[in-house]
């Protein structure tokens, strides 16, 4: 069964660390690791050139995902969830254009069209260009929840062989979404990056679409 949670685990456990926690340290679940099992939006498949669909996906999105507008429809066609544990990252940046207020013309286009204009009478504004890529991305969200700043969406999902009992689900949710402290920290590897990731800050600059011309 597929369980999807919002955000990067607040404990900073990475996929390997979360798997170690869930399977070995706290023994909360048995994860699916078969190379013959691939979860996708459309169902569970045996992957490969002779791929075969096994059965429909059983999934559960956390309440935090639903609260910010990430529903099952947020995942586009042919989305691959694989198996095991994955901490996915999606980046998106809207494109803006500085235009003369009330028009969709930038200053040069405005002057070319209107001729000489007193600068004091002009008001500029930053207009969001709703191009095809942005419209497709925005359509994935429930209405009124799509962030319109450059942003990163982290999702953490686990694929288990069986449905989780409530106590195990709540414990995993607490580890990922609420930053609960993992038990027996001495049982995690000291190798840099093996179980815990280094936190890094984003400077807020555009993550995508740098045009060179």
């Amino acid at each position: 069964m597929l369980y999807i949670f919002l955000g990067y685990p607040k404990t900073l456990l990475n996929a390997g660390g979360l798997q170690h926690c869930v399977e070995r340290v706290e023994k909360l679940a048995i994860l699916e690791h078969s190379p013959q099992t691939q979860y996708r939006k459309e169902g569970v498949f045996i992957p490969g050139q002779q791929e075969e669909q096994l059965y429909p996906v059983e999934h559960r999105l956390s309440q935090d995902c639903l609260d910010v507008g990430i529903t099952w429809d947020w995942f586009p066609e042919n989305w691959a969830f694989g198996n095991g544990v994955t901490i996915h990252k999606t980046t998106a940046s809207p494109t803006f254009k500085v235009v003369v207020h009330g028009t969709d013309l930038n200053l040069e286009e405005f002057l070319a069209k209107r001729g000489p204009t007193r600068l004091a009478k002009l008001e500029l504004e930053r207009l969001h260009i709703r191009h095809e890529g942005w419209e497709k991305y925005e359509a994935r969200w429930t209405p009124g929840t799509c962030p319109q700043e450059s942003h990163i969406v982290h999702l953490t999902w686990l694929i288990t062989t069986h449905q989780l009992p409530p106590f195990a689900y709540e414990r995993i949710r607490d580890l990922i979404e609420y930053g609960a402290t993992p038990k027996d920290l001495h049982r995690y590897s000291q190798e840099a990056g093996k179980h815990f990731s280094a936190i890094r800050k984003w400077d807020g600059s555009s993550a995508v679409g740098v045009r060179v011309n």
Binding site: N14, A15, P47, V68, P76, E132, C146, W202, G209, R211
Partner: protein, 200 residues
């Protein structure tokens, strides 16, 4: 600070994110202008920690969405990758453009990258260049990758075979997919950036 649009509709330009509510008004354009919503998924200035997986079948690891790259526009992308120790096995990566898997990480000779099987932490990078997708020119993917471990194990190669032709449509999503050959190792991908190239 409230401003007034040409149609006379008032909207807030300074604190649109404080309420999370689009402006009320008859002018749809004016309403859209302060349609900026706060939420836990807006991480401006926040955490950009890596994407990781222990999946033994192909999984979408990192996606760059909201693009708009026309079919006639060449583009490239690059990224950083790493694997942890845990098993003497490799990790592999591939590409998905929009919803089409162009390179699947399922086969060794069919990957965006694959790393040495030496049981050690390794890190490296990859890049990929995709020329314009026009009639009869729909399989143009060139790329290289390399990675190394602490013992100096260098592994590199060229992105080769493809699983499918590139769609000759506007590219809106670039996804790096991948898998590990043994769930005891973790594959990490980060800092994927997409660049479009000028044609004139």
């Amino acid at each position: 600070m409230a401003e007034t649009s040409p149609g006379g509709i008032a909207f807030d330009t300074t604190l649109p994110a404080s309420t999370g509510v689009a402006a009320v008004g008859v002018a749809a354009a004016a309403a859209r202008r302060d349609h900026v919503h706060p939420s836990a998924v807006t991480y401006a200035g926040g955490n950009t920690t890596e994407a990781t997986t222990t999946s033994t079948t192909t999984v979408d690891i990192l996606t760059v969405s909201s693009l708009s790259i026309e079919a006639a526009t060449p583009f490239s992308f690059l990224g950083a990758l790493r694997k942890t120790s845990g098993s003497a096995d490799t990790v592999r990566g591939g590409i998905k453009l929009n919803t089409t898997v162009i390179i699947d990480s399922i086969n060794l000779d069919n990957a965006l990258f694959y790393l040495s099987v030496v049981n050690e932490p390794q890190s490296g990078g990859f890049n990929c260049l995709i020329p314009p997708r026009v009639t009869n020119y729909i399989r143009g993917v060139t790329g290289t990758f390399s990675a190394a471990g602490a013992t100096g194990t260098l592994y590199d190669g060229i992105t080769s075979a493809m699983s499918a032709t590139i769609p000759s449509v506007t590219i809106t999503d670039v996804t790096v997919n991948g898998r590990v050959e043994n769930a005891l190792i973790t594959l990490g991908v980060d800092d994927v950036h997409v660049y479009t190239l000028a044609t004139s």
